[in-house]
Amino acid sequence: MRLGGNPSLAAGAAIVGVIAAAAALGPLVAHADPFAIDLARSLAPPSRVHWLGCDALGRDVLSRILWGARLSLGVSVSVVTLSLALGSVIGGSAAVAGGWVDNLVMRAVDIVLAFPGFLLAIALAAILGPGMIDLVVALTAMGWTGYARLVRGQILSLREREYVEAARSLGAAPGRLLFRHLMPALAGPVAVQATFGIGGIIVAEAALSFLGLGVLPPTPSWGNMLEAGRAFLLVSPHLTTAPGVAIGLSVMGFNLLGDGLAGAIARRD
């Protein structure tokens, strides 16, 4: 896939690459412990030692941003992977089964879709309580229906193709039909939706952490850093702008990457 003729893809890949590198390597090369409290440096402004300053407890903001990148990317990739797996199995099975099974499954999907996704995540996060696994469950509940619909729609249009007909006439079981012949053809559209989905989950996780329903302090999350920074907006605006810029840049990177992928796939097809 060429990057040169696709500025969105190039820009998105560059930004996402930087974010991913920061998430993978940042905590290893960061000079400060993101959990180390030093009240003497409380609300210290950006300096040569602390490039993004220190928070109210004297913890280095840059180190916390880098740890937050690891958490955000880790959670969002996990959620998108689980949503994709769950949605693909449910949507794909409904499409292959057809008939009343398809109707029943899609009516259930419609009911879940009628419920606002973020509200569902808030309600689940509130009931399940704080914790990484509970957060992933709450966010996955928000996203799987989109993949179910996408996969079902794509399979309904693909299942009448000649190669699928040939596999069916050779005795391929529904499961083999679904996973061996149909799913590989969906890679393009699913990759585009997943890329946009990662950006959406980064925002949703940050929002839940901001509301006190996601990652709780002292574990650094961009969302809980934003929330903590609000109290010091007047004296230390950098505590809010730093995580805000990190979130915005990440989302922009994934949106540009998704745009670029969609364009590249459209041109290929």
Binding site: I111, A114, I127, L128, L226, L234, I247
Partner: protein, 306 residues
Amino acid sequence: MTRYLMRRILALVPVALGVATLTFALIHLVPGDPVTAMLGDTAAPADVAAMRHQLGLDRPLAAQYIGFLAGVAHGDLGESISAHEPVTRLIAERFPATLELAAAGLAVALLIALPLGTIAGAKPGSAADMGAMGFAIVGISVPHLCLGPLLMIVFSLDLGWLPLTGRGGFAHLVLPAVTLGSALAAIVARMLRQSLMRVRHADYMRTARSKGLGESAALIRHGLRNAITPVVTLVGLEAGGLLTGAIVTEMIFSWPGMGRLLITAISARDYPLVEGCVLTFALSYVLVNLMTDMVYGIVDPRVRPV
């Protein structure tokens, strides 16, 4: 038209029932004991039993479900554990503020998106188009979680033009509304641009130009009416999201709406209030989708049954 509207309203009933059922299932079927969560692990068994009886949780699940639906039908959502007031009254006090914020966000989104999208779609490839789409990329990418505090820093703290938090007159509404509506503005501007670029090559546009109409006049008088239809759908799909997006915006700006009520209820482990707020948000979302269908039927007569 009346038959179309009646059909859409009747279709609302099973959807509303499904949403209410999902709300009930969230609170009652998800693992974890809400009474223990409310009273704490060290609560006396007698207190736990008394609370369970007060909330009706000692009844069979089916009876609880029927009671819940009957309560919803009569507008009775129980009593708040923390405020000791009917949940319905607490929600009625706060809902207008959320509605005001969501409506203002929608107005801001349309005020920005319609001119921006029209200019970009009328002159694709121009500097105005590039600028509009640059705004769209930034607007879609910067979530209101980040935008709100940035606007507060610039317009309240640095310039002192607008109040920082709270609800009051028009000035208090500006920053929260811009925060909430900017992402929708970006999405709508982009959609309108694409839609206008598509209709520019339609046969009726060629006819209008050959009759002597200028490009801009042809686009506004004939193209916009057709280009606006997918935009109406998009606005309808996203407008419901303004209600739930208001939850975070209300927390940022200390706006006294239902979003803040929900988060406060969650912190207080006030499950009846949480359930009432979640249900109200969800049913409002469904109603907004119904209104979108109605508006769509008015804008595009082709979707109405003959």
